[in-house]
Amino acid sequence: MTTARRLVMTEDQEALRTAVRDLLTDHAPWASVLARTESDAPYDIALWGRLRELGVTSLLIPEEYGGSGGDARDLAVVCEQLGAFVAPVPFLGSAVVATAALVAVRSEPVAADLLGQLASGGLTAALAIPATTVPGADLSTTVRAADGKLTGTVTPVMDLDGADLIIVLALDEGEPALYAVQPDEVDSTLVLPITPLDLTRQLAALELAANPARLIVRGLPALAAVATAVATGAAMLAAEQVGLAQWSLDTTVAHLKDRHQFGRPIGSFQALKHRMAHVWRRIGLARAAAIAAADVLVTETDLDEIAMVIAVAASYCSETAVFAAEEMTQLHGGIGMTWEHPAHLYLGRAKADELILGAPDQHRARLAELVDLPPS
């Protein structure tokens, strides 16, 4: 029924993990992430530049388009670390989702050109779909194309504000099509930022009113590209969630060893130890599921099997991240309720992550179809 997947990291992936982790340790400490949330620049452009220098922002882009030519398994290694640091960069929206959409139609000259710009120019891109789009769901759009101009609204879109390139799914005389809206063609008032629950991932509404756009591709390939992008996004989000959960566990365990009450480290109380052990146990399952989800994107050809493995990872990792972040908040007591402690950055990100690219119940509903377990 299933072939055994490679679920252990290669040496190259171990090295990549260490490189990204070291970079984030130096350049994305939580205190600066927290400070940035109230600044005018919610995203850290300098950090994005460093990630670009490391080659990880173009991992999905093949080398002939100027990318670093990795695969989704490598990308997952990066995403796990970005989740662990709740790094304020538009990675999921740009380097994962938008890039995956363009890679899927790279045989189209416009897509190839845009991929080249993303790879070499250090631009960021956003795919204008609602952040809550569910893998496998029928795609729809209210954006209409006429005479090379787009009109319509899409919201909430992740990593849209500040994107140099916006890829839009539109209906062109009833036919789906992908268009590219370039930055200098967008009136900045058409990107309306939304104050997000997750302070480390930006959301905005896109309002297009006859904005000029370049056609990338029309017809079924346009829909297929968006579907691939959503599935890739869900799989990489699962990896982020594993990183977030692991950081929450590590931080909480450290606190429980350090914090004394009743003359003992509170981590010696069995009631708290068991809670931590459960978090650890669930992360072990979540990590295996997330690695498998990245693996199927590279090695599996059966589309249902790909969708199934991703649905398992997405639903399980979403809930595990929320569980770990909520346990962290509770077990830090009053400290965890303060603004000055980073727990809330992780809690907000975990809960928001649960709602994007398919909520757990939506992933399970999709899974039920795929494995022939109908609800009624």
């Binding site: 429980l256 981590g267 130890k273 068991h274 931590m276 399952l285 295996a288 399970r364």
Partner: protein, 389 residues
């Protein structure tokens, strides 16, 4: 299989002995070093990496060879054999290992007692030295296979005057010796998988001691460690209890209810994540990078078994009210599938108790994996005889 030379020897063995009785075939396997391949030559193995075992079992199965005696001799294979190999004398290895593998000698484990469950080091069964013998008296409990076992691994107290972990010694006990009494212990399922075992002045020769006097705790830890090191093959999706549940859901559409579906899918997802995580642990072990121990896996397995068996009854509704058989039966092998849904539900309650309760395993994870401090213990440093009880 990858190793052609080994495949050749397996094929030869099957051709020569594969059609005979199981015990004879398994004896030939043992003699050829193809029993436990990581054991040394002359003791049923070839000194190969432990990771080769699953490929070898696959190859035997592929050629239609008789199965191993693993299912009838769980304790013999999983606990006694590796402990005898590690701590036994040459004579013990020569005489005891082969009949374990062939299934001729069934083994049981005499560790737990009424007063020593999670706190295993508190065992009270006394062994008193008498020349070349030990005189053993006490009561053991939760003993699977005791009614069919020829031998037991036994943990007994040889010195009550030192702290509990230091006064234990590990023995091999003859279950047919005078003074050994086995009584069925009926479980909540109605059957009696387990036994109580009473020792009254049972004479055990000192030559049946495994490891040094007073070193029983270390030997017992080795036994438990070995059990956790076993590497199984890759499991397939929907194997196990979730598969039973999924099959029922597919076959009986009239039983479907929306709230049950939500739970079914949660269990399905967790079972699949668990399967992947077990596969990942296996691959890490094969790559020579073992991850943290299997305590978490056992907690997860128990939770999945209990969740799935409970849901199976709820899906069945009226049919779930029926219990197949309350009579006192004596199963000789573990088969959780047998006996119907209500039996599965009741039997699964033992999954979070046998082989370490989930609560103790969570402590193990918290302390050994996460490094959280132990609870203050009231018994540390006290001689066993002075412990509060």
């Amino acid at each position: 299989m990858a190793n052609a030379e080994l495949a050749g020897r397996i094929a030869e063995l099957v051709a020569e002995h594969g059609t005979g009785e199981r015990a004879a075939f398994l004896g030939a396997r043992f003699d050829a070093g193809l029993a436990w391949v990581h054991f040394p030559e002359g003791h049923g193995g070839l000194g190969l990496p432990r990771t080769e075992q699953s490929a070898i079992e696959d190859e035997f199965a592929r050629l239609g060879a008789p199965p191993t005696a693993q299912a009838d001799n769980v304790i013999g294979y999983g606990m006694a054999a590796p402990t005898i190999l590690e701590f036994g004398t040459d004579e013990q290895r020569q005489t005891l290992l082969r009949p374990i593998f062939t299934g001729e000698d069934i083994w049981c484990q005499l560790f737990s007692e009424p007063g020593a469950g999670s706190d295993l080091a508190a065992v009270a069964t006394r062994a008193v030295r008498d020349g070349d013998y030990w005189i053993v008296s006490g009561q053991k409990v939760w003993t699977s296979f005791a009614h069919v076992a020829k031998w037991a691994i036994l943990l007994a107290r040889t010195n009550p005057d030192v702290p509990k972990h230091r006064g234990l010694t590990y023995f091999v006990a003859d279950m047919n010796a005078p003074g050994v009494e086995v009584r069925p212990l009926r479980q909540l399922t109605g059957e009696a998988e387990f036994n109580e075992v009473f020792f009254t002045d049972v004479r055990i020769p000192d030559s049946a001691r495994l490891g040094d006097e007073g070193n029983g705790w270390a030997v017992a830890q080795g036994t438990l460690m070995n059990e956790r090191m076993a590497i199984g093959g890759a499991a397939t999706r929907e194997s196990g209890m979730v598969g039973v549940l999924a099959a029922l859901w597919r076959e009986r559409p009239e039983l479907r209810r929306p709230a049950l579906h939500e739970r079914l899918m949660r269990l399905w997802v967790e079972a699949e994540a668990f399967r992947l995580s077990s596969e990942r642990q296996r691959q890490q072990l094969l790559a020579g990078r073992p991850g943290p121990d299997g305590s978490g896996s056992k907690v997860t397995f128990a939770a999945l078994q209990q969740g799935s068996t409970a849901l199976e009854l709820e899906v069945l509704g009226a049919e779930g009210l029926h219990h197949e058989d309350w009579s006192l039966r004596r199963p000789t092998e573990s088969n959780w599938l047998a006996g119907g849904a209500s039996h599965r539900y009741l039997r699964a309650k033992g999954n979070s108790i046998e082989g370490g309760t989930s609560e103790i395993l969570l402590n193990v994870i918290a302390e050994r994996v996460l490094g959280l401090p132990r609870e203050p213990h009231s018994d540390s440093g006290l001689a066993w005889k002075d412990l509060p009880r």
